[in-house]
C-alpha cells in the first residue's frame, strides 16, 4: 500500500491527479502515511477487505461500487 501512495503523490507532483485503491485494512496506515509524506489530502479510496479470497464476480461488484467515488476523487479540486 505504501509504495502506491508514494506513486500517487509523485503523479500529483507532476500535475496529474491520481488515486490509490486499497483494501480497507489500510485506512489508518494510509492516513498516517499521507500526513507523513506531506499531503494529507492524497486521493485514496477503499474496498472492503478481503480481496484475495473473493470470486471474480465479487471483485467486479467491488469495482462497480467504487468507480463513481474514484471519478469524483480525480475530479475533486
Amino acid at each position: 500500500m505504501s509504495c502506491g501512495l508514494r506513486d500517487v503523490l509523485e503523479f500529483e507532483r507532476v500535475g496529474k491527479p491520481a488515486v490509490l485503491v486499497a483494501s480497507d485494512v489500510f485506512t489508518g496506515a494510509a492516513d498516517k502515511q499521507a500526513r507523513m509524506l506531506g499531503q494529507p489530502a492524497a486521493r485514496r479510496a477503499f474496498v472492503p477487505h478481503p480481496v484475495q479470497d473473493r470470486t471474480d464476480d465479487e471483485l467486479r461488484e467491488l469495482a462497480r461500487s467504487i468507480v463513481d467515488e474514484l471519478v469524483a476523487a480525480l475530479a475533486r479540486a
Binding site: R6, K16, P17, V19, V25, F26, Q52, A63, A77
Partner: protein, 93 residues
Amino acid sequence: MALENLEILDPTPERAAAGLPLAAPMRGEARIALVDIRKPRGDVFLDELERLLAQKGHAVERTMKPTFTKPAPADVRREIAARCDAIIEALAD
C-alpha cells in the same frame, strides 16, 4: 546531579509538516491510466473498472508496475503522466 535535565539528540529526521498542493482536477472525459500494482486478483478488478470507465466516456490505458514492492520506476511514471490525464492505481491489499 539527579535533578538536572538530560539532553539527548533527536534520532528522527525532524521533518517539517509540509503542505504540498494537489494537481488540478480531472476535467470531462479525460484519458485515465489504470496502473496495476500486480497484487493477485487485481486484474479482475481493473478489467471491470476499465469497462465501466469506458462506458462513462473515458479513454483508458492499462499499465503494470514491475513490482508491488517498490514505487513505480520514474520512467514508467513519466510515460504514464505524458500520455494520460489522470491515474488510478489498484489494488493494494
